[in-house]
């Protein structure tokens, strides 16, 4: 029973990732694409968490941490780009 629930959750998360990817491709404006990429990263972390529950292991915990850090840095960089036009301020 629990395995069936986990499979349903994985399928729903995969559909969410596909939807976010389509939004990233066709998104009319840049903020749409940034939000879609951020949500895609968070759903990837969710997939890793569900797989960790399904396989009863903690081996992928570092993967989830690295993914969340990289998604955070990417979102901050892109937000700063659309706000200021530059990513690194010279002074």
């Amino acid at each position: 029973m629990f395995g069936i629930i986990l499979n349903i959750v994985l399928i729903m998360l995969s559909l969410n990732i596909v939807i976010c990817f389509i939004r990233t491709l066709i998104g009319p404006s840049l903020p749409d694409r940034i939000l879609a990429l951020d949500a895609l990263g968070m759903q990837l972390i969710g997939v890793i968490g569900v797989i960790m529950i399904a396989q009863d292991t903690v081996a992928y915990a570092e993967v989830a941490l690295v993914l969340s850090i990289l998604a955070f840095i990417g979102t901050v960089a892109m937000s700063k780009f659309i706000e200021r036009g530059v990513i690194f301020d010279p002074d």
């Binding site: 081996a59 570092e62 690295v66 850090i69 840095i73 200021r84 036009g85 990513i87 690194f88 010279p90």
Partner: protein
């Protein structure tokens, strides 16, 4: 057009905490290597990510004062450390890059595995950190 200087209070407050969490995680990944997921490569990339986060939040001039390293020199130093680790085993009559390990009792930490793969990993760590930051900062300084 000169832009107004903005005061990103939220970004500064968050980055001051998060960057140290990322640095601690990178050190954990570095020492978890060669038996578990981790190692010099991903540890160096995470350290570079923490530095990039600092560069994003504060400006280049402040960070030049806060991190006065020449990141080009890190590439050469790391390569030298990795190479010397390989050569050391040749001095004792073993092939290049032979690795040894031993379990040592260290106070407060219990039994710890010490390997010669650790200095090699340190070299990889420095090379990855130097290369990633040199690439990112060169691109950033170029588009003025």
């Amino acid at each position: 057009m000169k832009q107004l200087k903005t005061n990103n209070v939220m970004l500064h407050t968050l980055v001051r905490i998060v960057s140290f969490v990322v640095l601690a995680f990178s050190i954990y990944l570095f020492f978890a290597g060669h038996n578990n997921p981790g190692g010099g490569f991903i540890g160096g990339l995470m350290t570079a990510a923490a530095f990039v986060l600092l560069y994003l939040s504060f400006n280049m001039k402040t960070l030049k004062k806060a991190l006065p390293f020449n990141f080009d020199l890190l590439i050469g130093g790391g390569l030298l450390i990795a190479f010397l680790t390989g050569v050391t085993s040749m001095l004792f009559g073993f092939p290049f890059l032979t690795q040894f390990f031993e379990y040592v009792q260290i106070p407060f930490m219990g039994e710890v595995e010490l390997t010669t793969a650790l200095p090699f990993d340190l070299g990889v760590y420095l090379v990855v950190l130097g290369a990633a930051l040199t690439i990112i900062l060169t691109i950033a300084e170029d588009d003025k």
